[in-house]
């Protein structure tokens, strides 16, 4: 039997994300179920595992978004705490990686390292951590420290946060848990002892949690800026990217991979995964029509106005979403949308661009917002989608994708049932898992343990 892995073609990595906020989720669809019930998460995670995906990813929420001083009410809102949820999902899956965003600003290294080590133990080596930081005082209002960071400090703090977490994971060596009943030796002396004194953190003591099965949980990073790319090249196992157009994606891919050598790493030690959507139907034409329908559901008339208001910084509720863009200029310094990463900068420039595009193409407000929302990434019959994904990866655009379904919980079913088998036939996607851990799925080595030398008691 000729195994698909013998074709020598690059293997694709796939992950799935349950979208929390933003207007990706079409909650008005009759097939849309709860965004919070465990059953929805179980369905999506099991579908991803049936499709032999590398991992299931949950983003983090720390404050509800606000628009014009009130809670933003047009999109799906409300989501679980992701590490707790992933621990529950570990009970209903056996191989699927379980990845969570955990903010390094509103947490401390000790508790994050402990919770991730716990998830890695309880899942048998399937945990991953998307490291992010916040510089957002709005979010800070929910936390004791309340504090936030100068933006320039973000990566410095993140890097030290991550380094401290790794020191904690390394504080227990492999085999420090002896559990030798006859000898009466449960642990090796000094297991868990640590001390870190740096610019952002000064911590010491004994870490409570033995070394995780993967050595270190997989580290994910998402950042397009120069410092973000450098941080990824130095520290991350996986990079999330927003570049899902092939030309931009190739440039990003080349740039990030070229930075790895500086840190003594090879290109295959960092997987680059853009987020993408998939619309699959019986024929290309049907898929195109369905993609159109989805996009129009994602950008309701109210959503179109809200997006415009976020850029213009003004109340535009008097404008007709099917009419032309306002001819007034954006308000200077007005912040209409809080807790949202979109439209944070360069709003004047965005507004100029949008107006020019609308005038040139004679677009209404809603059509314009639909146009700039970017549409769906892969659209077509199953064969078309499989070819496009394969082409994207084989031509240096990505190592794979994080798929974001527009429906909860059934949004991955078609892809897994109809596209995954085609990728497997092409020999570019695994037919079964080859190892138990997420590092195995990603082709990453397990982090070697430090030597188990007994440590002196201070």
């Amino acid at each position: 039997m000729s195994g698909p892995e013998t074709t020598g073609r690059k293997q694709i990595h796939l992950a799935a994300q349950l979208p929390g906020i933003h207007n990706v989720t079409v909650w008005s669809d009759p097939r849309s179920r709860s965004q919070i019930a465990f059953e929805s998460f179980r369905h999506l995670a099991r579908t991803a595992e049936r499709g032999r995906f590398d991992f299931f990813f949950l983003a983090e929420g720390l404050r509800l978004r606000e628009h014009k001083g009130q809670l933003y009410d047009l999109d799906v809102v409300g989501r679980p705490e992701n590490l707790t949820q992933l621990s529950a999902l570990a009970a209903v899956t056996t191989r699927l990686g379980l990845a969570a965003t955990v903010n390094a600003t509103f947490n401390e290294p000790y508790e994050v390292a402990r919770r991730l080590a716990t998830l890695d133990h309880l899942s048998g080596g399937r945990a991953a951590w998307n490291v992010v930081t916040s510089f957002d005082a709005f979010t800070g209002e929910n936390f004791r420290r309340g504090g936030f960071l100068a933006e320039s400090d973000r990566y410095a703090r993140a890097a030290e946060f991550l380094a401290t977490a790794r020191e904690l994971w390394d504080s227990w060596a492999e085999g420090d848990v002896r559990a030798d009943a006859a000898a009466g030796a449960f642990v090796r002396p000094g297991a868990g002892r640590f001390a870190h004194h740096g610019e952002h953190f000064a911590v010491s003591g004994r870490f409570t949690t033995p070394r995780p099965p993967q050595g270190h949980p997989v580290v994910i990073q998402a950042g397009e800026s120069g410092p973000g790319r450098e941080f990824a090249a130095a520290e991350a196992d996986v990079v999330f990217s927003k570049y899902n157009r092939l030309d931009q994606a190739r440039a990003f891919y080349r740039d990030v991979k070229s930075r790895l050598a500086r840190y003594g790493r090879t290109p295959d030690q960092l997987k680059i995964l853009p987020t993408a959507t998939v619309v699959v139907a019986d024929s290309d034409a049907e898929a195109a029509a369905y993609a159109d329908e989805i996009t129009r559901a994602q950008v309701s008339p109210q959503t179109a106005i809200a997006h415009l208001e976020a850029v213009w910084g003004r109340d535009l509720s008097g404008y007709d979403p099917d009419g032309p863009l306002p001819d007034i200029d954006p308000a200077p310094d007005a912040q209409m949308l809080k807790g949202h990463s979109l439209f944070r900068r360069d709003r004047d420039e965005i507004a100029r661009g949008w107006r020019a595009l609308a005038e040139e193409r004679q677009l209404s407000i809603r059509d314009l917002v639909i146009e700039v929302s970017g549409g769906q990434t892969f659209v077509g019959a199953p064969g078309t989608v499989a070819d496009a994904i394969d082409h994207f990866v084989q031509t240096g655009g990505a190592d794979g994708f994080v798929l974001v379904p527009h429906l909860t919980p059934g949004g991955l079913d078609d892809f897994v049932d109809r596209v995954v088998p085609l990728l497997q036939e092409k020999g570019v996607f695994r037919r079964d898992y080859t190892g138990p851990t997420l590092r195995d799925h990603l082709g990453l080595r397990h982090e070697p343990a430090p030597a188990p030398v007994p440590k002196e008691t201070p």
Binding site: L74, E81, L122, G192, T209, P210
Partner: protein
């Protein structure tokens, strides 16, 4: 008239509450950090129809000393995060309540609230919270943000002294529980409306900022997760002295106490009553359940449990020391004790198995049938939520406007 059935819980901790329990014949010391071990224990507890299991936790490594670390290597050292542990077993069980310990001194109440609400969803209404303060000053060094009171050898001889010394932490923890609870209430039950006509997913008038301002921290809210299935997962705290009794009276739905006989139970419950009066709590509107703790070694054959404990004592090099009464005997003898103590005014018991799984099985397959024969324990679950088992009504959100 018969007394209402007892509430019965089991406190799970590592290989059991005896420090040498991991060396017992049927212990599974190599599995303590594996999910399967915990799934087996909780499934066994559910087979016994228990109200809930608790998961011990601390932010520091275990120690034989109450107030500072030690360097012993012959006892279990190392632990997993209890909230994640409870979540890991939630989908594998259907009825039993799951009550993890969460620290409120060094962690964020926002995270604790969200984590417990998530557990309540993952278990469809079976989550409870056991809030804990960081009594060991060394734990503060793990965070490097603050210091906490350092207990002396003199302090730890007297629970009242410990309570007084740590009272600022209890005050802070009471604020933290208040924040946790307000966040649970911050979404009214029907805040998600999915109104396609107006394009609104939520009714924002039914989601509220909590605007908590306390001495130690402020939290604006609202929660990022809708109101949990139980509305308010039950909060339960362990207490040994007046300061923690007052904490329970302010913050908890159930208090766990550690008397050593029936008279001691009566005395402690009188102190709890005093604390309730001092805080002005109306227990008819907000019941405070009272559980006593007993550390148990159970064997069917008379004398076997005591011999088993003696052997573990030998292995550990000292007789077992505990804040709670240590019982050795048969299921029938333990049933006698529990039913006698109950007369002091207890609602139930949180039993600490001396060794796992041995003494858990002794509870589920020895004690439970014995209590059932005496009409003192349920013969089937008649509810699916922890509040249901505890006969606590589901409260409405404090923010819901009276209609």
């Amino acid at each position: 008239m018969t007394a209402p059935p007892l509430h019965l819980a089991v406190a799970l901790d590592a290989a059991g509450w005896h420090p040498a329990a991991w060396r017992a014949e049927d212990a599974r010391p190599a599995d303590l950090f594996r999910a399967e071990y915990w799934a087996d224990l909780v499934t066994e507890a559910e087979r016994g129809l228990l109200d809930f299991v608790t998961f011990e936790d601390a932010l520091g490594v275990q120690s034989a000393a109450f107030h500072r670390p030690d360097d012993r290597v012959d006892q279990v050292r190392g632990s997993l995060d209890a909230v994640l542990l409870a979540a890991r077993v939630a989908p594998l069980t259907t009825h039993i309540g799951l009550v993890p310990t969460a620290n409120l001194t060094h962690t964020e109440p926002f995270h604790v609230s969200t984590g417990l609400a998530t557990l309540d969803y993952a278990s469809t209404g079976r989550a409870g919270l056991r809030p804990q303060i960081a009594s060991r000053a060394a734990d503060a060094d793990h965070f490097g943000r603050r210091t906490t009171p350092r207990l002396t050898d003199e302090d730890v001889r007297d629970p009242e002294r410990i309570g007084r010394r740590l009272s600022p932490l209890f005050d802070e923890a009471a604020d933290a529980v208040e924040v946790v609870r307000r966040l649970w209430d911050s979404w009214e039950d029907d805040a998600e409306i999915r109104d396609a006509a107006t394009g609104r997913f939520i009714d924002r008038d039914k989601i509220h900022h909590i605007d908590f301002e306390g001495e130690h921290f402020s939290v604006r809210g609202p929660a990022i997760i809708p109101r949990p299935p139980q509305g308010q997962p039950p909060v339960m705290s362990l207490a040994h002295a007046s300061v923690p009794y007052e904490f329970a009276a302010r913050a908890a739905d159930a208090v766990w106490i550690t008397p050593h006989d029936r008279a001691g139970a009566e005395a402690v419950l009188a102190q709890v009553d005093t604390a309730v009066r001092r805080t002005g709590r109306d227990t008819r509107a907000r019941p405070l359940l009272r559980f006593a703790e007993v550390l148990v070694f159970l064997d069917a054959e008379p004398g076997a449990a005591a011999r088993r404990k003696a052997r573990l004592d030998d292995l550990d090099g000292a007789p077992l020391a505990s804040d709670a009464e240590v019982f050795t005997g048969t299921p029938g003898e333990l049933a006698d004790l529990l039913l006698d103590w109950r007369e002091a005014g207890l609602d139930g018991f949180r039993l600490r198995p001396g060794a796992l799984p041995h003494d858990l099985v002794g509870i589920t397959r020895g004690l439970v049938p014995e209590l059932q024969r005496r009409g003192a324990f349920r013969t089937a679950y008649d509810a699916t939520t922890l509040r249901g088992h505890l006969r606590l009504p589901r409260p409405g959100s404090r923010y819901a406007r009276a209609s």
